[in-house]
Amino acid sequence: MIRTKRDLTKAVLLVTPSIVLVSIFVYGFILWSLRTSVSAWQGIRPDYTFVGLRNYIHLFQSTRFQIDLWNTAYFTLFFIATCIVVGFVLAFLINRNIRGEGVFRTVYLFPMALSFIVTGVVWRWMLNPTFGVNIILENLGFPSDWGWYTDPTRIGGFHVALTSLILAASWQFAGYTMAIYLAGLRSIPYEVIESARMDGATEIMIVRKVVLPMLRSITLSAVVVLGHISLKIFDLVMAMTGRGPRFATDFPGVFMFETTFTGNRYGEGAAISIVMLVMVALIIIPYLVHVFRQETHE
């Protein structure tokens, strides 16, 4: 490609405004939050008196934050697992020359177009312990006294009430997982599967030995994308359950918001937000490095 030096300078000038904006609003603000997280700021007026790690120590000692971390871990695990399994199964089934494929795809994916607030409002009504799904379960003869998101029971570290959020979030994102798996399945050459079939491989063997290994990078993307959504989950919780009985459905995002904007404890709120950032960065940075390495190798 033809480039003159003058044009190259202009190119840099063109992206400069965006670079400046991102530097300030992303990196500058993160540093500012970091500074806030080691400050004594409580109340409306900023107070940047340095207090060391006091806010963090406070935080990790609080029962609420410990519960939040467990909830995040369990929610992330079950949410990702559900989306991957349901998404893969749907993609696999839909990829077999289905009549009306477009209709099925549209149906499975439509929740992606909705806001977590809409999803939360609707699922709160559906899982209402008095009127909701319980009535259907009762009519079908199943146990029907589930408390859903009002249930304070904790089994091991797992709050039963989280099930409601996992269901709602998976409903929203299973279709997304299906769509990326479907794109992956379509990119596997037909001959590969056909030749495995000729060699006498059963369907299950083909899936395990041929299809899944070829979709490994897609599974990785799905885990990363779904994982970072679940680590910062906030909207769905606010709309559906709030912090729940005995923090059964509380998450760092909710805790941060309440601490900061309801409690006016800015120092502690900032500390929570930094912990959230670290959790997300731990999965996103290796992923971005991986993707960019691959791109430069291509």
Binding site: L8, I19, I30, T36, F104, S115, I135, S273, I284
Partner: protein
């Protein structure tokens, strides 16, 4: 001979049975996915008394638009706020993304890839980690609590994803085409205006749908930045509606449907582009 026919027949029977099971599974999943939609519509069409009864799963005895009109009266100003917010924010971030995408795909100056990667990180961060400084900053420049403050926020935090989408899209435009422009004496801006922009339509549609949907559906920025009911967008208003004293489920469901309508309509009409945007969101184009 006859046993061969027999095997063939059994195989066909098995194949058609498999097919039937396949369709039944797909339909069952579809029903499951559509259940919330059924509940929303049927509850929204009930009256207050009907919606409070244990009959939440049954169809409304008669169609009543009472809930929809109540929801619309309460939510209309907020729908308007959302449109006033989403349209400028979407086009603002798309414009910046298009310029950046052009430079990052066609003008790889030194360090461009590193800068691009650093930029991309901005689309994954939990926004909680910039929320306190953002509020202080918006207060300082006098935009806290205003729609303009929210628009600015969405434009800035939309830069990474729109840049990514346009970069991947422009990468497919052959360099020879741009070279031809340069030979004709166009500089980099000339090439952008005369060659890139006219070819941008399909990429722009993907970006616009994506940004429209994300900004319309945003709650965290909206609830933090807009405290006064007068400027609150639809997601915040819907959440407040749900938190009111007497829970009118029928009005809530009608409200949820109203809030979902614009993005749902976009999805149904332009689903293909919506999916493309979604796939681009997982970094690889």
């Amino acid at each position: 001979m006859s046993s061969a026919t027999q095997t063939w027949k059994t195989e066909r029977a098995v194949a058609s049975l498999k097919r039937t099971v396949l369709y039944i599974t797909l339909v069952a999943f579809a029903a499951l996915f559509l259940t919330p939609l059924y509940v929303v519509i049927s509850t929204g069409l009930k009256t207050f008394q009907e919606a409070r009864l244990a009959a939440m799963w049954s169809l409304p005895p008669s169609v009543s638009l009472q809930a929809f009109s109540a929801a619309f009266t309460r939510l209309a100003p907020h729908l308007e706020n959302s449109f006033k917010l989403v349209i400028p924010a979407t086009f603002g971030s798309a414009l910046l993304g298009s310029i950046n995408g052009y430079v990052f795909s066609k003008w790889r100056f030194r360090g461009a890839n590193t800068i691009f990667a650093l930029m991309l990180f901005g689309m994954f961060i939990p926004y909680q980690s910039i929320l306190i400084p953002l509020v202080v900053f918006l207060r300082t420049i006098g935009l806290y609590g205003t729609l303009w403050g929210l628009i600015l926020t969405h434009i800035v935090y939309g830069i990474p994803i729109t840049t990514l989408m346009f970069r991947n899209f422009y990468a497919k435009i052959p360099d020879e085409l741009l070279d031809a422009g340069h030979i004709d004496g166009l500089d980099l801006l000339g090439v952008y205006r005369r060659i890139i922009v006219p070819l941008s339509a399909p990429g722009l549609v993907v970006v616009v749908i994506w940004q429209f949907t994300s900004i319309w559906n945003d709650f965290l920025f909206a609830v933090t930045i807009t405290q006064r009911p007068g400027v609150q967008p639809i997601t915040v208003a819907l959440q407040n509606l749900a938190g009111s004293q007497v829970i009118e489920w029928n009005v809530q469901m009608a409200g949820a449907l109203l809030a979902a309508m614009p993005t749902l309509v976009l999805y149904i009409i332009l689903g293909k582009y919506f999916i493309r945007g979604m796939l681009a969101g997982s970094v690889k184009g």
